[in-house]
């Protein structure tokens, strides 16, 4: 198997936490992993992205080539479109629907939604609302992960196990919140 994933959003939205969970699950399965990210100036409210590659064969490049990504998982709708040239024609975009407007010239959200709907395989979810409605306000990112699970090629229960390992030391309450969030995501993408 191989899955090339681009994770993106705005600095501070919790994208790297998703990457950590996927990476943890992949490592348990003895898959090869490469996960590239950019630190420093990129974090200050700017766009952030991570290239996460998992495969049963050794991986050469840390960066995904154009047209090579199987999935784009995005915490922000416009950010998902920024990486469109990296998405394979049969690839999936799984994105939050809520725009993060911290720039003066943010485009009209309807334009963004229309652009997203032109993509062959796309799931747009209001994860922030779903998180609030279900009492897991800080786990919107894990809802997104739940919605992306099928496209990742990792079994659902393996992601659950990874959540337990990654969030274990933060306490039972946080673990359960994230397990719940994952399930909400899975339900939502059906």
């Amino acid at each position: 198997m191989k899955t090339d994933i681009i994770l993106c959003g705005v600095g501070g939205q919790g994208i790297l936490s998703i990457a950590t969970i996927i990476g943890e699950a992949a490592m348990k399965e003895n898959l090869y992993i490469k996960q590239a990210e950019v630190h420093g100036m990129s974090q200050r409210g700017g766009d952030v992205q991570s290239n996460l590659r998992i495969s049963s064969n050794p991986i050469a490049s840390d960066l995904i080539p154009l047209g090579g990504a199987d999935v784009i998982i995005s915490m922000e709708p416009m950010e998902a479109l920024r990486y469109l040239p990296f998405l394979s024609k049969d690839g999936w975009i799984i994105t939050s629907s809520a725009p993060f407007v911290n720039i003066p010239n943010y485009p009209d959200i309807e334009t963004i939604k229309a652009d997203l709907n032109k993509v062959k395989n796309v799931i747009v979810l209001d994860i922030e609302q779903a998180a609030k409605d279900n009492g897991v306000p800080r786990s919107a990112n894990v809802i997104l992960l739940g919605a992306a699970q099928k496209a990742l090629g990792i079994e659902y229960d393996k992601l659950e196990d990874a959540i337990r390992r990654v969030f274990g030391r933060k306490g039972e309450a946080i673990v359960e919140a994230n397990i719940k969030a994952l399930a909400i995501g899975r339900e939502a993408q059906k």
Partner: protein, 535 residues
């Protein structure tokens, strides 16, 4: 044991497992995580490995040299421009040579994700006449650390290890040793004839170091990290160094049909390169950074092969490489992909909401509206973002500490008002000496030290001068009447703008220190406090 590690973390673990006694560094993207990993390591705690941040890269390099002098192993870490700061001790550590193993780890930043330039540290290795190692992946970075220390102790030379952003900040599974080997014992083997660089001794050392170069080159030829992998089709040969090797392999999942020379140890292995240029009609050089190898291979004289690379347009002259550039250079067609979406707009970084620098710039801009020819010389840190809207407050940002010294130079030229804005960490890094110059000449400048009690841009590391700034300024000779400390919050705007206006109109050196903790570290401290109280 297997661990999922960033390239930086693999380097750090490798150094600990190689018997490190001290890491000396100043925060700098993409190298910061190396020292942070060692600071968090239980083994480092147990072994009392030195692991506190230094005031700048020069003090770091010199302290590491002192540890090496006493026979113990030291690691120095920095980003590429940091090597400019410690160039003096770095080059001269090649002259003194080393006692305990000394490794200088430099993390370059091609495409300047977080830097002012994309200078290539391999030139420094050549300049200082020391070996340079350039791992291609995270496993190699881990393995190479022990080899680097061993090589250093064998040759009695510092070893430069160069990595780039895309490996430093990329995670992969790394096989690490079960146990870390012991540190060295203190010894007094260092000879004055090596370490006292009076001309009489320095000349002898220079001859020795120069004479050692052919040996270093032979070691590169024999190195297991430089591999000549033959291929069926000799029309083209490819030289690939560091992570460029990965991008090349990405293009050929079933194996490359052309001969490939992987270079991860310098000086460049001329013998292996000559084999390729004799064998192949064309040679493509794929390297991350500037055309360091390509230039040397091409030389001035025409050779057997036609050399292609960044200098001939096959690969972009500037910026980082990626698999797509390699594909294009090799004539491999890309599969189908979506066109870029035209509705996407750039989202540049910005100062955090509630950041103290915002209040400083608001106050400064308000006052400077009255002085249309004012010039504000900026510096390196989060506050550099004050260039962007809505503040558009600074006119220059060049290197660590340049704010104060450029303001003084501008003032010498007749500029008024000449304002400098600098952060607390940058001030102790290299602002103090500039301030001394200004005070000694009673320069007409206004210096703002925007103190957020941390080294923020790199993730909130300890700042060397916290709680010492007033004493430092007075110690340098600043008059107390022109040293003002303010709290940059909105309700203090009248006080702050009055202070700035008053000090601009004082025609001597003024220092204003707006002080308020960085929002990021404040939140972190509050979280830690909460967690501690729960226990």
């Amino acid at each position: 044991m297997k661990k999922l590690l960033l390239g930086d973390e693999a380097i750090a673990q490798g150094a600990i497992d190689a018997g490190l006694s001290g890491v000396y560094a100043y925060p700098g993207t993409p190298s910061t995580e190396i020292t942070e990993y060692i600071q968090d390591s239980p083994v480092a705690k147990e072994r009392n490995i030195h692991r506190r941040w230094s005031t700048n890269e020069k003090t770091a390099m010199e302290a590491a040299l002192g540890m090496s002098y006493m026979g113990k192993r030291a690691l120095v870490c920095m980003k590429h421009v940091g090597l400019n700061v410690c160039a003096d001790p770095f080059v001269n550590s090649g002259m003194t040579g080393t006692n305990g193993g000394l490794v200088v780890l430099v993390a370059d930043d091609p495409s300047m994700h977080s830097s002012q330039d994309e200078q290539d540290s391999r030139f420094y290795g050549k300049f200082a006449m020391v070996p340079t190692l350039e791992p291609s992946n995270q496993q190699e970075a881990y393995d190479m650390m022990q080899e680097a220390f061993d090589l250093s102790e064998q040759l009695h030379l510092p070893i430069l290890m160069r990595v780039t952003t895309r490996m430093a900040h990329s995670r992969a599974v790394v096989q690490i040793k079960e146990e870390s080997r012991p540190q060295n014992e203190l010894n007094y083997n260092a000879q004055a004839s090596n370490w006292v660089l009076l001309p009489a001794f320095a000349r002898k050392r220079n001859d020795i170091v120069t004479a050692q170069q052919p040996l270093l080159e032979q070691m590169a030829v024999d190195s297991k990290y430089n591999q000549y992998i033959d291929g069926k089709d000799h029309k083209l040969g490819i030289i690939a160094s560091g992570i460029a090797f990965n991008y090349l392999m990405e293009c050929y999942p079933d194996g490359c049909p052309y001969p490939v020379l992987k270079i991860s140890q310098y000086p460049i292995p001329k013998k292996l390169i000559r084999r390729m240029t004799d064998d192949c009609e064309f040679v493509l050089v794929a390297e991350e950074g500037q055309p360091f190898i390509e230039d040397q291979v091409r030389g001035v004289m025409p050779g057997n092969a036609v050399i292609k690379g960044r200098l001939t347009g096959e690969l972009p002259r500037t910026g980082e490489l990626n698999p797509d550039f390699l594909k294009k250079a090799l004539g491999i067609a890309n599969g189908e992909s979506y066109a870029p979406c035209e509705d996407v707009t750039p989202r540049p970084p910005a100062l955090c909401q509630g950041c103290g620098h915002r209040d400083v710039y608001t106050a400064l801009n308000e006052v400077l509206r009255e002085y249309p020819n004012a010039r504000v010389f900026g510096d390196i840190g989060c506050y550099t973002l004050g260039f962007l809207p809505p503040y558009k407050a600074i006119h220059s940002c060049v290197d660590m500490g340049a704010s104060i010294t450029m303001a003084k130079g501008a003032s010498d030229a007749g500029q008024w008002p000449a304002v400098a804005i600098i952060g607390d960490s940058t001030f102790t890094h290299s602002g103090m000496t500039g301030l001394l110059d200004a005070i000694n000449e009673n320069a007409d400048i206004t210096v703002i030290i925007s103190d957020n009690l941390t080294t923020a841009m790199t993730g909130g590391q300890d700042s060397a001068g916290t709680n010492k700034f007033e004493a430092i300024c007075k110690g340098l000779g600043l008059s107390e009447d022109h040293l003002k400390v303010v709290n940059p919050i909105p309700k203090n705007m009248p006080e702050i703008t009055a202070a700035i206006r008053e000090e601009i109109n004082y025609h001597g050196v003024s220092v204003i220190i707006p002080r308020r903790e960085c929002m990021q570290t404040l939140q972190r401290h509050l979280k830690q406090k909460k967690a501690a109280e729960k226990k």
